[in-house]
Assembly symmetry: C2
Homo-oligomer: 203 residues x 2
């Protein structure tokens, strides 16, 4: 009863669906297009995933499960805040270069359907508690200037994620072609960490 194939149909579908959903979003995606990209019949999509909604959710959860560990790297790692910021910045940018549609996809779809995030709020969902303690500790030790952990976290996310989400806008305003945009992003692997640390480090 097992199919001996290079890749089973279910995965072919999921990969095609990832591709289409992440570039066009839930509303812009067409089941026929996904089927075509997977090289199979449209009925197969429903055979394996029942509905567009369920197929989409499979893709979304999959995408989020890639992003979550990245965020947990700031929130739950044991290294110092300075080290975390340096590592996260370099790692996250490399990570997104490999998955360019991820941040946009997640942000867009979370905005489209606010309730949707409830379906994710468990197993490994990033949470800020530990980070809060760490920030307060380092402030007390005089290692960093006073700042709320929430604001610091928002700032770290913003500086790292935004340049990808707003790529078209940034390219237009800075009059960059793809090459120059890529250089800007590459620079940010160190630039962003320095910018943050400059701001919060005690002198």
């Amino acid at each position: 009863m097992k199919k001996i194939k290079d890749e089973n149909t279910e995965d072919q579908i999921l990969n095609a669906a990832k591709n289409i959903f992440q570039t066009k979003g839930m509303d812009g995606a067409r089941m026929q297009e996904i089927a075509d990209k997977a090289g199979i019949n449209k009925a197969m999509l429903h055979y394996y995933y029942r509905s567009k909604q369920l197929l989409f959710e499979a893709v979304f959860k999959n995408a989020f499960s890639l992003l979550a560990p990245q965020l947990n790297a700031i929130l739950n790692d044991d290294s110092s805040i300075e080290d975390k910021i340096k590592n996260f910045t370099a790692n996250y940018i490399s990570f997104i270069i490999k998955h360019p549609y991820l941040p946009n996809f997640i942000i867009q779809e979370l905005n489209r359907n606010q309730d949707f995030i409830l379906k994710l709020k468990d197993r490994g969902f990033p949470s800020i508690e530990k980070f809060k303690k760490q920030v307060d500790e380092e402030i007390n030790k005089g290692l960093i200037k006073p700042i709320s952990a929430e604001q610091l976290f928002i700032n770290i996310m913003a500086l790292n994620i935004f340049p990808f989400v707003a790529k078209p806008l940034i390219k237009a305003i800075t009059k960059s072609d793809d090459k120059h945009y890529k250089e800007l992003i590459e620079e940010r692997k160190t630039e962003v960490a320095n910018f943050i640390i400059n701001s919060i480090k005690t002198t």
Copy 2:
């Protein structure tokens, strides 16, 4: 031949279209829903705007023409960089509180259709040249630490715009209800400017 009315049909349509397009995006919006919200017949949409695409473009241009002056406030004002950052941060956040769907709408749609930005690139489209000169000048005068104008501009945009774009994510990770989220944002009116200035100000 003029209609004496509280509001002419064309504007009613545009307002309804704004509402629907900005919350649901081009792909998620339905002409029927726009007509219903405007309280008119669906044929009127086509009578006044010919097609969904053209109606959408009217809404988009309108939205962008609100955002552009905000960005130009950093790029082309005559005040010092420090003052610009302080003013922009406070103003922009107040501005978005009034137009909460704006940044998301623009970013989402620019990502959906990359070519679309070409239709905007004229009259008052924000451009970074003047800001570049100013940054270099202030660095030379020793007022701020060395930083590329592009990176500084990206950082300013990121810290200000991202918290709105990523609202659902931030709310979930910081376990905030609407009230706490609003407080976080309110804090940022001064927090963000301090964060940036701390980082670039010479000591």
